[in-house]
């Protein structure tokens, strides 16, 4: 496979074509709007939280709207699937792990991290193209920003 074919995995092309979680939520606790100023990609994402049986907080639903390249659109789509229903702590960990994946220059992470990321490991090839990393991170940045706004996620410690 050429590195371009590794970049555009079938899973990415499929998500870009029929994205998940697209459409803004009517009921939500926080919203984030992120742009990639170099190419004009944008995503507006809303989160709705809920309490689970044991009193923890879960990401009940995310809904988003946006425009951009296949990498940015597929990434926010895969993310929506992964975090829906997940405890906030898990969503945070997913975000951190995905960011780490983007810094591996295409080498990938350890098995445990890749198991956690599931479908999002399809983006491993993106990390070979520095200009595309921002595209893949756009939705994750929106999610993190929205969760920080709700107060359930702490701002990154400096």
């Amino acid at each position: 496979m050429s590195s371009m074919e590794q970049l555009y995995q079938q899973l990415i092309l499929d998500h870009a074509k029929s994205p998940h979680g697209k459409g803004l939520l009517e009921t939500y606790e926080a919203e984030s709007f992120q742009v990639n100023p170099t190419c004009g990609d944008e995503v507006r994402l809303r989160v709705h939280l809920a309490a689970d049986a044991s009193g923890g907080t879960v990401v009940d639903r995310v809904g988003w709207d946006g425009q951009g390249c296949s990498i940015s659109q597929a990434s926010v789509s895969v993310m929506s699937e992964l975090v829906t229903g997940a405890p906030v702590a898990t969503a945070d960990l997913l975000g951190e792990t995905f960011k780490a994946l983007m810094h591996t220059r295409g080498e990938g992470l350890d098995d445990q991290s890749e198991d956690l990321l599931g479908d999002a490991t399809a983006f491993t090839g993106v990390a070979r193209y520095p200009a595309r990393i921002k595209c893949a991170l756009l939705g994750w940045m929106a999610l993190r920003d929205a969760l920080v706004q709700t107060g359930v996620t702490q701002e990154e410690k400096a």
């Binding site: 371009m4 190419c39 004009g40 296949s70 990498i71």
Partner: protein, 443 residues
């Protein structure tokens, strides 16, 4: 080796012969490298920045190896030679654009040059520069006119100047073809207009502006004209005196020169009346603890130590273009423009932003591919070794006007070949199929 053409009659319009083009390409070492696993580079991003010929690199190196010293100060021989190289470069740049040497002010780039004018107007508005500078002073209700096609560099500084002074920003629109609505000049430019700032050629659509129409209307109402000549100077014969604009800006790095250097042109009497912006060493006459008198232009606008080696490089680039002959450069690029337009227009599901005819247009062609974002288009082209620009090319309002968020741009320069356009065309044809989109009647 430097490509030099046969002596030519003025006004010669014949393009480069294939031998001349090969000689030009041999002057640009970078053009022969490969990318992405051994593919020959097809560089179609000259609108963003051009590649540099040996003569430019040599001029900079020679300056550092042989002549380096502080300019305009010191009495030693090196200082003399450095100053001469610096000032000779100013002559070369002036000659290329039909200006006098003392009408050329070194600036870091076109963006800095345009900001210099905007801040000089702010200073004049605050009363600096005395009576002579009154023509630059603005009042609330005065108007500044730009166009909807501007690069952000020729838009945001004017928005900011309006915010600082209470002046109002107005603009000339763009038609569906990407051409400026020169028919709006009569209504948008009025007695309240103090500045008309516009580009000579669009970095997105490649459309070349009818500068005469803008200048005539601005002069009727006594407004200053500011020309963004970034995209014209590298590709077209430009005679600033004949165009009769008051001020103009262009960057060295887009015209085969180094980064870090550009020029502000101003008519002698316009620069003479303009108050300084950056102040300090090198731009003064007499300094006491209370007051300072300022040097005449261009030094008045060149505060502090200058980018001397880069200026020398920009001078070498100007001489290189001048020796090739801008008529020949323009004629060659006109052929490339026609090939580019035809190549893009021939691909199903691809739409050109801007004129599809080759009249008054540069070899810069922006386009959108149905169903594929510009970033993804650029990636497929890159995989074929083809370097293009993707995004909004620092012209968001123009993209919004043309109904898209982003586009892909292929832009040429004097060294671009028909073979390169063919490689680009072939790769562009693969984009939609790669993303699983096919066109009716095709498999």
């Amino acid at each position: 080796m430097t490509a030099t053409l046969e002596p030519q009659a003025p006004g010669r319009r014949s393009a480069l012969t294939s031998a001349e083009l090969a000689a030009v390409r041999a002057d640009f070492p970078l053009l022969s490298r490969t990318v992405r696993g051994g593919r020959p580079l097809v560089y179609l991003d000259s609108g963003a920045t051009s590649q540099k010929p040996d003569v430019v690199l040599d001029a900079e190196q020679d300056f550092y190896l042989q002549r380096n010293a502080a300019v305009h100060r010191g009495a030693h021989q090196l200082a003399e030679e450095a100053t001469e190289a610096f000032e000779q470069a100013r002559v070369e740049v002036a000659t290329l654009v039909g200006a006098a040497a003392d009408e050329i002010v070194w600036q870091p780039n076109a963006t800095a040059a345009i900001n210099l004018v905007a801040y000089a107007m702010s200073n004049a508005t605050l009363g600096r520069g005395g009576r002579a500078a009154r023509r630059f002073a603005l009042q609330p209700g005065d108007e500044i006119v730009v166009t909807e096609a501007e690069h952000h560099a020729n838009l945001v500084p004017w928005q900011e100047l309006c915010a600082r002074t209470g002046a109002v920003l107005r603009w000339i629109g763009v038609d569906d073809d990407g051409r400026l609505r020169t028919d709006e000049l009569g209504t948008v430019v009025t007695d309240r207009t103090r500045v008309v700032a516009f580009s000579h050629a669009s970095n997105v659509t490649g459309a070349v502006t009818d500068v005469g129409a803008f200048v005539r209307r601005a002069q009727e109402v006594g407004a200053l004209t500011v020309l963004d000549a970034c995209q014209s100077v590298p590709h077209l014969p430009v005679d600033l005196h004949a165009l009769d604009v008051d001020l103009a800006a262009f960057s060295g790095h887009k015209m085969l020169g180094p980064t870090g250097v550009g020029a502000l042109y101003g008519k002698r009497e316009v620069l003479a009346a303009m108050p300084p912006v950056l102040t300090g060493g090198s731009m003064v006459e007499v300094v006491t603890m209370e007051t300072t008198t300022y040097a005449p232009p261009p030094q008045r606008f060149e505060a502090g130590s200058q980018m001397v080696a880069q200026a020398v490089g920009m001078g070498a680039a100007a001489r290189y273009l001048h020796e090739l002959g801008m008529d020949a450069v323009a004629a060659h690029e006109e052929q490339i423009a026609a090939l580019l337009v035809d190549a893009v227009a021939a691909v199903p599901g691809v739409r050109i932003l801007g004129p599809t005819d080759t009249r008054d247009r540069l070899a810069a062609v922006s386009f959108v591919v149905d169903g594929v974002h510009a970033h993804d288009v650029g990636q497929v082209l890159d995989d074929a070794g083809v370097a293009v620009r993707v995004g909004h090319h620092c012209a968001q309002p123009l993209h919004r006007r043309l109904g898209v968020a982003a586009s892909t741009r292929a832009s040429a320069a004097v060294y671009t070949t028909a073979e390169e356009v063919a490689v680009f065309a072939e790769a562009l044809g693969r984009v939609r199929p790669f993303f699983g989109l096919s066109d009716q009647g095709e498999s």
